[in-house]
Symmetry: C2
Subunit: 292 residues, 2 copies
């Protein structure tokens, strides 16, 4: 079956283009949108791919409109790929009743509970989307998904950490803004994992960054960068960066840099302040041997 | 009467703060919101003020969330002040029937038609807001409104041009993204000016940048910078930068730079691409003799 995507909007920015697409996801069983920022460098040769996973309630548009990431992505010649945060339009009963579960809240897991069987955002991000970028026009000629890194915010910071730690051979660097570090032990994570994965907490551990960090056995260790704001209202109850810090110490994982940013909150104002650091962190990993 | 403002949100960004305020406008007769970005430099002394006037349908938030202006404003030590685009909540019949007239569409004029008598955004921007910044806490100790410049987008680009050209002693530089250059001759302007100012087209000329440019007699000529995108869907019918170019030639006004940016549209993706140029243009005018 031919894979195809429909371009639904295009906006020029920093000499490149934001292009928003719609495609039929076979993994999720619904139409999905995602946005790619193509730097001008993509017109001359294949550029590496930096995936960004968004937080609760977001679509692919929040990051594209508010982060300011395109400026440095253009300067470094890295493409940005921003997927949506859940299946949409399936009409599962109650799918839109909560802002932290169902629509806009896929948590980047593969659900095992029958009712939520379409919620397979892990496979969508790790398998389907990279395959699409490898094969479909116009990506195949401009992107190099074999050079990929991943980052995200909040729920998407959790997503970036687990996707990266479970596939260290596929992502050259991992970073997060205000990630949910230990979802098996915080209200957002417990609600989502109970709903998508059932009551058996053993099944949850495969999607918890702290558990994955403690059990990490890969030969390749992608560098990790995490920024969290000290004024983030979700810091203590939902994010718990100290849990990840402890897991990193226990595992001896290196290099990993966790920073607390004084006075910053959970918003895109925080993200935009440190986005250049993150883009450069990933570009340094992605462009080894490729920059002039 | 004491002037006071209520801070309704605060978000740290680039070592400074976005602070959104609500206050009672005596000019407009309603509560108004506006946002100020305070660079860190404002904690050490008074910083100059750069006003940004927004386009149709916008509030003060679009610019603050999407332009990326704070990064360079922080670096140069310039405060950003973003007002709303019209009175709100007055309940004038039909005020929200059109996206290009009434609420969100004040066009920065003082209305003379009885029904729209509250629409006095010109006086609000030129008189009331600067007076508030001079006198109310916390502005009086951190901002220097006697060093001010102005810019804006679309309807707000028109606003910046007319406000600056009518008050060249009060604004040290003027710039615009995709401004409505000749509102007396284009559909948006004709609709707004007919509604707010009545049928007499002579009364419209005081709010038309091309007319003001041709009649300009000030001793001080603030430098002008205008960027417009060649792919802007409003370019031919509504914006008409060539009309302003003609008026500048006729008047001999200098310095004025009008640029056509190839492939860019009317969105904040366009604004964000050239925002650094505009911030630096204004900072150069505002900081003469003040930078180390």
């Amino acid at each position: 079956m031919a894979t195809s995507v429909e371009e639904i909007t295009v906006n020029r920015q920093f000499d490149g283009y934001n292009r928003r697409y719609k495609h039929r996801s076979s993994v999720l069983g619904c139409d999905m949108t995602f946005t790619v920022y193509f730097p001008a460098a993509a017109e001359k040769g294949k550029v590496p791919v930096l995936y960004y996973l968004s937080g609760l309630t977001c679509t692919d548009e929040n990051f594209i409109q508010k982060s300011g990431a395109q400026r440095m992505a253009a300067a470094r010649g890295v493409a940005l790929v921003a997927p949506d945060t859940s299946p949409r339009g399936l009409g599962v009963e109650g799918e839109a009743d909560s802002w932290d579960f169902g629509v806009g809240a896929g948590f980047y897991v593969n659900a095992t509970q029958e009712k939520w069987r379409a919620w397979r955002m892990y496979d969508y991000v790790v398998e389907e989307l990279p395959a699409l970028l490898r094969t479909a026009s116009p990506f195949a000629s401009s992107l190099d998904p074999d050079r990929a890194s991943i980052f995200g915010h909040s729920m998407g910071g959790h997503g970036a950490l687990i996707v990266g730690l479970k596939n260290p051979q596929s992502y050259r660097s991992i970073s997060a803004f205000a990630p949910i570090c230990n979802p098996t032990n915080v209200p957002w994570g417990v609600k989502a994992f109970t709903g998508y994965l059932g009551e058996d907490k053993e099944a949850w551990k495969q999607y918890d960054a702290c558990e994955l960090m403690r059990g990490f056995a890969g030969d390749v260790k992608p560098p990790i960068l995490v920024d969290t704001g000290s004024a983030d209202k979700f810091l203590e109850v939902q994010l718990q960066p100290q849990a990840l810090e402890g897991a990193i110490k226990d595992s001896g994982y290196s290099p990993a840099t966790l920073r607390m940013q004084e006075g910053y909150d959970h918003s895109y104002f925080f993200i935009s302040t440190f986005i250049d650091d993150h883009i450069n962190f990933h570009a340094d990993a992605l462009l080894v041997g490729h920059e002039a």
